[in-house]
Subunit: 114 residues, 2 copies
DNA sequence: TTGACATATGAACAGTTGTTCATATGTTTG
DNA sequence: CAAACATATGAACAACTGTTCATATGTCAA
């Protein structure tokens, strides 16, 4: 069973723990979400979008950073399928795209109030 | 009201969003938690500890990394009050210390199964 | 005390991240 | 068409992160 591991003290507990660890793909998609939310600018963006959709320059004002910086961050959130956007003329509106993230953010904001 | 902001298109929405953004302290404690969970090794540690307490060398086996690497990561989790430990002779047992993190992890694991 | 063991820590290093600046794209108005 | 505007993107750079290696600390047993 244990193929190549050394110095384990509690084999059963380790085995139980290992059974609970998701596979590498799942693991990386989880850490990807958490990493996305671990930057203050991106967290502000996501919290803001949890309330209503906003355009890039509004988000820049919310974050207190430049349009360019926000646009870079939005690309990251886009690639992770955390936000989606729609264009209306010159203006691009972003909103949350992942309901897991929505509930995650709302729960987190609840916890902060405690 | 708006003191020093430029180029905002939707003032009301921005104002609403800003009201929903936690203060800097809360913001940093949230991003701190998310950052802690954004590394695969630390995520594995926390998922493992969500099941039962484990010692350092067991956690090293779970993570597939060295005792030293795990110990460094555990210090980070300790500083963030995410884990606590107890010593039993030579062996140090870690377990989760923050129920917010416990529920966060359990919910996340539920989401993965979907 | 000495040796073995479990864990912790410091230094150093490669790899990653988030910003800025300059420039490019796409859209509307004149 | 050109000019103005909103957003996107690439390059570059400082700052940060996670690991390894060497060494230190703390505990038990002989």
């Amino acid at each position: 069973m244990d193929v190549c591991q050394e110095k384990i003290i509690h084999h059963e507990s380790v085995q139980k723990a290992l059974n609970n660890i998701p596979d590498m793909d799942a693991l990386h998609s989880i850490t990807g979400i958490f990493k996305a939310l671990s930057d203050p600018s991106r967290l502000k963006i996501v919290i803001a979008l949890a309330k209503c959709e906003l355009c890039v320059c509004d988000l820049a004002a919310v974050c207190g950073s430049s349009d360019s910086a926000v646009s870079h961050q939005l690309r990251i959130l886009r690639n992770l399928k955390i936000v989606r956007y729609r264009r209306e003329g010159k203006v691009v509106y972003y909103r949350l795209d992942d309901h897991h993230v929505s509930t995650l953010i709302n729960q987190t904001l609840e916890h902060v109030k405690e």
